[in-house]
Symmetry: C2
Subunit: 117 residues, 2 copies
């Protein structure tokens, strides 16, 4: 699966807010496609919960029953969806989540009106 | 696409929290697969933002360029993912979001540690 880079802002209204236009829906659908895989969710969990906010790719293959190239492929999909970014330092690439994107997704599902009613 | 009913609790830790187990990752991946479609996202937006918290299926086909059976199919996938529930009253089915599930997804992406650091 190849994803376009959708790291341009997919911004900012909750599902319970104004009408979502077709472009925003298409962008968000691509992000959710990136999330619709158990290995990618577990990778994102490992990266998001890593000490110091970043995880070495060298620590991301061990927990999984799949090959290193497969993990690289999943990391690429998460990166192209704008959920993580990677930085090479020496031998290894270090990944961290992009907090703005996760916060955006958190806000998407926020339901202030219903829970406060 | 047929989804199992995953409305059993998929509960409650953020991505930045403890290690996600394989079952939870698989359940969540199914929910994100349900969300990975622009028409379903727009349907969910229409339902979540409807006056009174619920939307008549009779109001959900007009905004889309697809047939009523296709809309029904998408609504079924959202229902099977535990995101919405429907209630028949007279001629029509009325849909509302399941707030606990949306709140759960909101919490999944919450990043208290990073934003507060």
């Amino acid at each position: 699966m190849e994803l376009e880079d959708v790291s341009a802002p997919v911004c900012c209204e909750p599902l319970s807010g104004p009408v979502m236009d077709q472009d925003e829906a298409a962008d968000l659908a691509r992000v959710f496609k990136a999330l619709a895989d158990p290995v990618r969710l577990r990778l994102l969990n490992l990266i998001a919960s890593a000490q110091g906010g970043e995880a070495c790719v060298c620590d991301l293959t061990g927990p999984f029953d799949v090959s290193a190239p497969t993990i690289s492929h999943h990391l690429k999909i998460l990166r192209q969806a704008g959920l993580i970014e990677g930085e090479r330092r020496g031998t290894w690439v270090y990944y961290r989540v992009i907090p703005e994107r996760l916060t955006r997704l958190s806000g998407l599902f926020a339901l202030p009106d219903l829970s406060g009613a």
